[in-house]
């Protein structure tokens, strides 16, 4: 008898939740479900107008999104699309809108301020694009004013460069087995430091290419327990600059979730390197590096591409040291916009609050990716 009642209750509750979800879906859920704005297409309030606009963005309905803007006379639809997806190939070009949040900041009868947080999803993680939108009332509708960010345009020109480049000829299949092959680059871990965090053990360190040739590097670490057995093995994945030019140093970070430092007796480090063809360009200058103090600590700066080629994606790795020069933390961020020659692009890397209080000095390195890989 009790079981039947429970079954009936569960059925009714399920039907009720389906009806509620259908009539009043959360915007992100509606977008994820492939809604076409029917649920959030209303513009009777500032939030609804921005919700509808963001929903159009999530469906790549650029024309529809553009048509809802109040200030579309200030820029073309192409300018709007370039603002969203990037004028040049970059992380934005290959991103999809994962979710969005709309936060009202201020409202009056005819005007409102709304913060739109667009979280874009990419192969290297998500990035956040936060825009403060003014929303104005036009008749009985509200329409957002898009704060367009026009990417600088690089005029057509020829920039002569005399960049250094390494090419490699490896031994061939016809060579005698005793014949020489090109030597793998010599790399060395110059610093290594395990840290216990809430999520587990983190192994931080720095790797130096002490050779005169470029190296493709990676670092693997194995945590060993008291009895010498391996607890866990992990590698630096993308928390490292994989391409190291001669005498270049990269930080690395390896995370071991759900492992306590008290379990660890020793750590076996295994840096690997292989010789790759590479170019010394582009050179990226990192200007105005600053660490804003905790709380809400961020490592910020501007990347300036000093070379003549566009850089599609830049990966900034920040290394943080305490007063004694001990490595404290490694954090990273990918830039979502392409680095054009001599055009600053800002980066902002969050630093955990407790660690930020210990930081005395910091250092940044940049790895760049452009079509054609290391060539």
């Amino acid at each position: 008898m009790g079981g039947r009642l429970l079954a009936v209750f569960l059925c009714l509750a399920t039907v009720g939740l389906v009806v509620i979800g259908t009539l009043w879906p959360v915007p992100a859920a509606a977008a994820y479900a492939g809604g076409n704005g029917a649920f959030t297409g209303s513009s009777s309030t500032p939030e609804e107008a921005v919700n509808s606009f963001a929903n159009d963005l999530s469906h790549l309905a650029w024309q529809k999104a553009y048509s809802t803007l109040n200030n579309k006379g200030e820029f073309t639809e192409q300018d709007f699309v370039r603002d969203i997806t990037g004028s040049y190939p970059s992380l934005r070009t290959y991103a999809t809108l994962d979710n969005f949040q709309v936060r009202p900041l201020h409202a009056s009868d005819n005007e409102a301020q709304v913060e739109l947080r667009l979280r874009w999803s990419t192969v290297v993680g998500t990035f956040l694009d936060t825009r403060a939108l003014q929303v104005v009332k036009s008749g009985d509708r509200w329409a957002p004013v898009w704060p367009i960010v026009k990417e600088p345009h690089v005029p057509p020109e020829v920039i002569p460069v005399t960049y250094l480049r390494w090419d490699v000829i490896y031994r061939g299949p016809a060579d005698d087995w005793g014949a020489q092959d090109v030597e793998a680059p010599h790399v060395r871990i110059v610093d290594m430091h395990p840290v216990e965090r809430a999520a587990g053990v983190v192994v931080l360190g720095e790797l130096l290419n002490e050779d005169v040739v470029p190296a493709y590097v990676s670092v693997k670490a194995t945590l060993l327990g008291k009895n010498g057995s391996a607890i866990a093995t992990g590698d630096s994945f993308d928390k490292i600059s994989h391409l190291l030019l001669p005498k270049q140093v990269t930080p690395f970070l390896i995370t071991f979730p759900n492992v306590s430092l008290s379990q660890v007796d020793s750590i076996h480090m295994d840096p690997t390197s292989s010789l790759v063809a590479a170019s010394a360009d582009p050179v990226i200058e990192i200007q105005n590096q600053k660490l804003s103090p905790a709380p809400d600590a961020y490592f910020t700066g501007n990347l300036v591409n000093q070379s003549g080629q566009n850089v599609s994606i830049a990966h900034v790795l920040g290394t943080f040291y305490d007063q004694s020069g001990q490595l404290v933390w490694v954090a990273d961020q990918y830039t979502d916009r392409a680095l054009l020659p001599q055009t600053p692009v800002a980066f902002s890397i969050p630093v955990p609050e407790d660690l930020a209080r210990k930081v005395s000095t910091e250092r940044a390195v940049v790895a760049t990716y452009s079509p054609g890989g290391f060539q």
């Binding site: 005399t162 250094l164 390494w166 005698d176 087995w177 005793g178 020489q180 092959d181 090109v182 030597e183 110059v190 130096l208 290419n209 002490e210 050779d211 005169v212 040739v213 470029p214 030019l245 001669p246 005498k247 270049q248 140093v249 010394a280 050179v283 990226i284 200058e285 990192i286 200007q287 105005n288 590096q289 600053k290 700066g301 000093q306 910091e362 250092r363 940044a364 390195v365 940049v366």
Partner: protein, 290 residues
Amino acid sequence: MSRTFSLLIGIAISAAAVPTLAQSGNLEVPKSVVAGSAFSIETQGSGQGVLYIVGPGQVLKRDVQLGQPIAIAAGDLDTAGSYLAVLTGGSSTETGEFDVAPATKPASLSFLAKPSRLPVGLQNGISGAVYVFDAFQNLITAPTPVSFQLSIPSESVQSRTVESHLGAAWTEMNSGAKDGNARFVAQAGSISATRVIQQVPGDPCGLKMNAKKVGGEIDLETDPLRDCGGNAVTDGTIVTFTESWKGGQTTVDVPVKHGIAEAAVPAYSGARISVATGVVMGNEIRWGSQ
């Protein structure tokens, strides 16, 4: 294909012949012959017979006339190792064992030189290992003198002679003081093999930069980068310039071009500018009030 087939037949026959060894007479074979050389096997009796010679990687089959010596021509048996000869004829089977030894004259060398690239001034940094082979690619196990020579441009030649042990000889050499390509030669008899060892500069020594103001920026330029032995540091080596001022920092990693590294950073009064490459620090400049 036919050789493989013969090998299989030979192995089968020799396997069958071994249990009957006690019942059969011994074949008179030389105890040892040199790989590739001619020799003969005496036989007894009369009539027709078949001789099988089975060894590592090689099998011979001959129809023979019993009572006549069997001639094995030069080059017929060229793989070193232990062999079994089986002579069948009539109702008897004779067997004999002998060794084929490698020739003593080296004909080729396998020369392993490591590393192919290393910094200057490294004690015992270069190792060379040689395997000595005869004309039929048999490892010559008899002691053979092998000489190693490392010649570095504008430096004296390092040379050593080592006697091989069970076919292998090895040595260690120091890298020279000057960068460049060193020739590493191993020689046994009249046969030699050459490897090239690239000697590269060591870490920079006395890294020093200069600064001058150009417009709103500071142009930074290092003196020509050299290691402690005076060798020019390789182009492409990364030099890091760091400018720190109150509340901010600018860094740039630039490759050495034509022996120097240069960069431009914003001019901030009171900024401290440092230079480093790898783990080597250079001088520091304090940019005065402008």
